[in-house]
Amino acid sequence: MKIEIGHGGGGKMSAELLSGIILPALNNDTLRQLGDAATVGGLAFTTDSYVVRPLFFPGGDIGKLAVCGTVNDLAVSGAKPKYLSLALIIEEGFEQSELKKILNSVATAARAAGVEIVTGDTKVVGRGQADGMYINTAGIGELIKGVEISAKKICAGMKIIISGTLGDHSATILARRHGLELPEGIKSDCAPLNKMIAEMLRAEPGIAMMRDVTRGGLASVLNELAQASGLGILIEEEKIPVRREVRAFCDILGFDPLELANEGKIVAIVPERSAEKILTVLRGNIYGAEAALIGEVVEKPKGKVGLRTPIGAIRIVDMPAGELVPRIC
């Protein structure tokens, strides 16, 4: 059996690779929680690799992404991001001027997020052994006192909040690849969300759960949360914010906005009483201006995600399978 591209898609195939090969080899209690970051000794600790193509795209580049992704993973775990590592794998022949641009983005994003890059590594591989460059970052954050982000805290009746429009990142990255031209203004949502998240936690330290909505999209994150909490999640299709251009992108290529990747969006599960307060905090922040309350946690059916459609029916939202491939069927 060979690794297929879909094994990296963040959906069912990724989950099978994890449970089939990775976890059996490396099993321990901390890893088994499969959070966005591990929490150990009062710290949150995470790592992520960045292989985005193209390297530069509207709204960011691989350098900005490598900082924001790791910062956001720490922040949604209820931590204040502090230190990052930066490892570069560069293909022989790569332009130094491009490397400079990417490192400038790394520096700018780190400043914006208030984190320091304190260690790193550079490797160069032969021509053809990598495609341009890849980046890995790891990050450490201090867990915020009095905050506990855990699927165990999710209860029926809690509200589901999304911090903004879905799919902007996927649409930006994939449009050109599939011969589409997006209008100006549609760009990757890649952003450091730690300051916004800190404000949310100040307003309501009792936020039960937060997740970074990246690969696999909202469909994947909500399914994981439904399974981890043993409760059901019901969302309303009409309340889910999606830009009309991104919806058109989906109509054209046969994608589902719920399965598109984001790089600057979080989903939060919050006590009903503070939902409005948290929405106000989000909407006062540039990265949360289009935040919306999209649904709630329900007792049953356990472990499932349901979507109320515009005609008033409820249908199941499944875990995405693997890679996003355009279809004409």
């Binding site: 290529l253 029916a313 199941i316 069927c329």
Partner: protein, 353 residues
């Protein structure tokens, strides 16, 4: 009348009637019906049955095996719609062949093959030409375009299928029991609503928005109620009586009607297309045939009966157990549009929340 009134109308029309089975014969409808949750709001005695409307699902193992055999050879590039990637052949899939290093490109339009052919003059490009009447003219147009450009390295591996012959076949099967058809809107765009006039049971050409599908269901129920049987065009924005005549002409310049094998059914007369003699140099099977081992698969897969609407997916012993979307046995499970994949994805037999 908004949709709630439309739904009321459907309920009124179905009230007091026996169980009514309406078959949709377009995979895009199957997906749209699940995504909008239409089954959940229909009255209990109106059942939607999915027919052989997913071209990927009705494509034979042999075809996939042939495509893989070409893909594994050094001098070929296989270009395909994304839908075909994970379809299982008798042993492997294109996605698995890709992981083994074969050159497979996912394209959105057959015309993309022209550029691939121009950029790779030393390779032979094979387009996997599958689909129904909607998609078939796009392959034909691509052949004409390649001819006009003098391209010598672009070929078709053709397995297109035609909808009216399979509907005829279904209607003539002794065990077939369906009370009405939702007809495929985009097939009708090409062949015209009149091409379905031979149908002897209530039918409606349907669009793909939830309300368009509901309108077509209401039309079928209305016909049943009145004891009529006609072909109602409920997608008049794009479907005309005669269809797209230019597309029909281009299709029949390049392709001719031929008998065709449908997965899970049998050889259905005049239900497929093959490249005409005049264009044989674009037909990879004629230019450079490849040998594949014919494998007779024996397992409990009931795709064939599912495709004919005789059983629902959960009545197959493999459904959700040995056969899931990430490890599909039958093709109905692998295509997003496949009946089994849609049932699996949207909650098996438990569509109600």
């Amino acid at each position: 009348m908004d949709t709630s009134e439309l739904i009321k109308k459907i309920n009124r029309l179905a009230e007091g009637k026996k169980k009514l089975r309406i078959m949709e014969v377009c995979g895009t409808h199957t997906v749209a019906i699940f995504r909008a949750g239409i089954r959940q709001i229909l009255p209990d005695n109106v059942e939607l049955v999915s027919g052989p409307g997913c071209p990927v699902c009705v494509t034979n193992d042999d075809y996939i095996d042939t495509a893989i055999a070409y893909a594994l050879e050094e001098n070929f590039i296989v270009a395909t719609f994304g839908d075909m990637l994970k379809v299982p052949g008798s042993r492997s899939s294109l996605a698995a062949a890709q992981a083994q290093g074969s050159n497979i490109k996912v394209i959105y339009s057959p015309l993309d093959c022209i550029k691939i052919a121009q950029d790779n003059p030393n390779k032979k490009i094979i387009f996997l030409a599958v689909g129904f009447e909607t998609t078939a003219p796009t392959a034909a147009a691509t052949v004409l375009s390649a001819q006009a450009k003098g391209l010598k390295n672009l070929f078709m591996l053709s397995a297109q299928k035609l909808v009216p012959p399979v509907l005829k076949f279904l209607l003539n099967s002794p065990d077939f029991r369906v009370d009405g058809f939702l007809l495929p809107g985009h097939v009708a765009v090409v062949i015209g609503a009149d091409a379905f006039n031979f149908l002897s049971i209530p039918s409606a050409v349907a669009g793909f928005e939830a309300e368009e599908i509901l309108l077509a269901i209401a039309s079928v129920l209305e016909q049943i109620d009145n004891g009529r049987a006609e072909v109602a065009n409920k997608y008049p924005a794009v479907v005309t009586a005669a269809g797209n005549v230019t597309a029909q002409k281009i299709l029949s310049r390049v392709y001719e009607v031929a008998d065709s094998e449908w997965r899970g059914m049998e050889l259905i007369p005049n239900s497929g297309l093959r490249i005409r003699e005049e264009f044989a140099k674009f037909d990879i099977e004629q230019v450079e045939p490849v040998k594949i081992e014919k494998v007779k698969k024996k397992n409990a897969c009931r795709c064939g009966e599912v495709l004919r609407g005789l059983v629902n997916p959960t009545q197959c012993p493999l459904f959700g157990k040995a056969c899931t979307p990430s490890r599909a046995v039958g093709a109905c499970m692998v295509s997003v549009e496949g009946v089994c994949a849609a049932w699996y994805k949207y909650g098996s037999n438990n569509f109600r929340w």
